[in-house]
Symmetry: none
Subunit: 417 residues, 2 copies
């Protein structure tokens, strides 16, 4: 089965946004063995879009569009698609009712143009939009399928997984042939990883190994090709085991797992409540911890202490300490973690103090220097880091290091000393 | 002049990399007034690439490819392009000599397959590659132009600016400038915007208007085409003025400005220090405020109060209030802002308390309900919101609403009551 992706919208044509939707859909379709052979981008121009869609339908079996399903005059993808498939449009009462409910729920007035989104080509299969307002549709003609998905990536992805994939599975019996396992590492660089795993990289065939640098750390992607997901997993398992035997300490998670989710699960299992005291990360550690659904079960809260005053008065860091060592120092990181743990009555606490830059660096304490402390029943440990990058990168890397140290502390407790 | 971009390569088709080349080329061409009407991506498949290029040459005046000029067997773009243009390929001695010099310089052996890069379609104009080895070419036929650029972004960009733009300027005298102005709004939906600006959208010609939904809110892009940037700005100014006259309250910034930067600048100018008290946003407001370089000048810090305990003990919210109204309520939001302002000795403070979900909603207080308060010398104001979306989206939107209310408070002070 040959597929073509058609992404629409002037922002794409003008290069104002990068086409992440095409990459995402291609990747997901590939995983289930659908060959994407063409990707086309066209603007909100009726004649050109019609030409593109007609041509796509002539050379592909499956055409998926994204974009142009919204309420405004420029949103014409569904209309033009209906034209290409020889169908008329009519107001779908169910879709209209869903729109009205949505607007009532968020307490906003529904302007008339919103009803454009409830206009559906006759006989089309409807995909409900659970992440926005514009529904998607699928239309069949002579054994070929044209699918319209929304443009905003969060809506497109939700509909792709929730509705389109199951729909394709039923329709074509497509099944997984490519299967990947991602190992997330933190604290080890790409070249060191390659050195430690060099022979595995050289001998790779099926599964293959790839290292990819991400803001969260380097990820190792193990990819296998097989007839089924189970068969692919069987190829991947021994490779994963070998990698973990060599660098297991640096691997904190797999696949879509996030470090904040893993730490959260550990806190929940061990019935520990956590508190944060942040200087250079400015609330990012607390924000990441609370990104996880259900985190109110184990997050007490935190203090962002951006001034010495707040460090002293709220966290109880002694002024002597601040004066003798400076705010960016091992003793202050320690006192911050211990202070917030005591103050908020948490079992475990994590603190950050450092220089995110771009200004303020000295020879002794250059920009990127960050002290991270974790305090709990097993005592307090402190790490000194030096992160490269922009202010935003230093902040994120420091938050990642803070969560990684918290994870190791909970895992190993006293063993860390 | 109509242009089509053809990007080639399996990594793009498989979605392993995002197509930043297409976005870049589109943006740069647009700036000189060349209309990119189509973007197509195709793999290293001879038949399909030939079809795509032939079709592109039939509907566009200028076709620019990127990718597939390298030394390996899979690099076929130049060959296929020559076929489409009816030209034979021959070894170009100058290109071959340049390759040999290059390899000698970096002290590497030049394998035979590298000479593929010196095979040039007869009569083609050659673009020297100053950032890599594969030269680019341009071929003319019946007044239309086919250009092959390399795939690696650094090589493509270097050749685009150093060679292609001057070549196009001489050939077509292209010089028109496209200039955009982005207005960032918050608190008004896309459909309501269109309703309020409908006549401007209908009458648009030059400049044009577009609405785009972003996580930060809806943005309005005003785009003008003119002979110079100054002339384009002159076309944009009256349109911007008219839009601001109608919906100015919702416009918080322009172009690349971020709300946290705008708020930061205002705090700095007015010499106000800010503090935050966050429940549902979990530190995100503080984190965004401290994303801005120099924010230590005006951010005192904040408290993430994820439990009633922390709200009461650190922020001084009365237990009566928490019991009678619940944590997610107008009076608690008010007490949090006032409490943190007092506690941290800040001139102005912002608080959030709400339900980010997905669990925990009730009929009275459904998921997405967020109270936001700002407290300062002009008193305290509280807003009630209901945000749609996932937990992450509710968190971000609440942080955006908190910063927006802070901005309005600083701007308008007492006038808000």
């Amino acid at each position: 089965m040959i597929a073509e992706l058609v992404t629409t919208g002037s922002e794409l044509l003008l290069g104002q946004i990068v086409n992440t939707n095409a990459a995402y859909m291609a990747q997901e379709l590939n995983k289930i063995g659908v060959d994407v052979c063409f990707q086309t981008t066209v603007g909100d121009n009726r004649a050109r879009m019609k030409e593109v869609l007609a041509f796509a339908m002539s050379r592909a079996d499956l055409v998926i569009t994204s974009g142009g399903l919204g309420p405004t005059r420029g949103d014409i993808t569904k209309e033009v698609s209906a034209e290409v498939m020889g169908r008329t449009m009519a107001l779908n009462e169910e879709c209209a009712a869903r729109l009205k409910t949505h607007f009532a729920k968020i307490g906003r007035e529904m302007t008339e143009n919103n009803l454009r989104q409830a206009m559906i080509p006759e006989g089309a299969h409807i995909f409900v939009n659970h992440a926005g307002t514009a529904p998607g549709v699928a239309m069949e003609k002579e054994g070929k399928l044209l699918v319209n998905l929304p443009g905003p990536p969060s809506e497109m992805k939700d509909m792709f997984h929730r509705s389109l994939l199951p729909y394709l599975a039923v329709k074509y019996g497509v099944s997984a042939v490519i299967f990947s396992r991602v190992l997330h590492t933190f604290g080890i660089g790409e070249s060191m990883l390659e050195t430690k795993l060099d022979d595995l990289v050289l001998a790779q065939k099926n599964p293959t190994l790839a290292f990819l640098v991400r803001p969260t750390g380097v990820i190792i992607r193990i990819t296998a090709k097989a007839e089924s997901a189970a068969a692919a997993e069987k190829l991947i398992a021994p490779m994963e085991k070998e990698i973990r035997a060599r660098i297991g300490d640096f691997v904190y998670g797999v696949d879509d797992e996030k470090l904040e989710e893993i730490v959260g699960r550990m806190l929940l299992e061990r019935k520990l409540a956590v508190a944060t005291a942040e200087s250079c990360t400015g609330g990012l550690v607390a924000s990441r911890l609370t990104d996880v659904a259900g985190s109110s079960e184990y997050v007490k809260g935190g203090v962002v202490s951006y001034t010495d005053e707040v460090k002293a008065e709220i966290l109880g860091v002694s002024k002597d300490l601040l004066e003798s060592y400076g705010a960016v120092s091992e003793p202050v990181a320690r006192a911050m973690a211990e202070g917030v743990r005591h103050k908020l009555g948490a079992e475990v606490a994590v603190s950050t103090t450092g220089l995110a830059g771009p200004g303020g660096g000295t020879e002794e304490t250059p920009v990127g220097t960050v002290f991270i402390a974790v305090s709990g029943n097993d005592g307090t440990i402190v790490e000194r880091h030096r992160f490269p990058g922009t202010r935003g990168q230093v902040k994120f890397r420091a938050s990642q290091a803070a969560l990684a140290l918290l994870r190791r502390y909970i895992n190993q407790g006293k063993a860390l000393h």
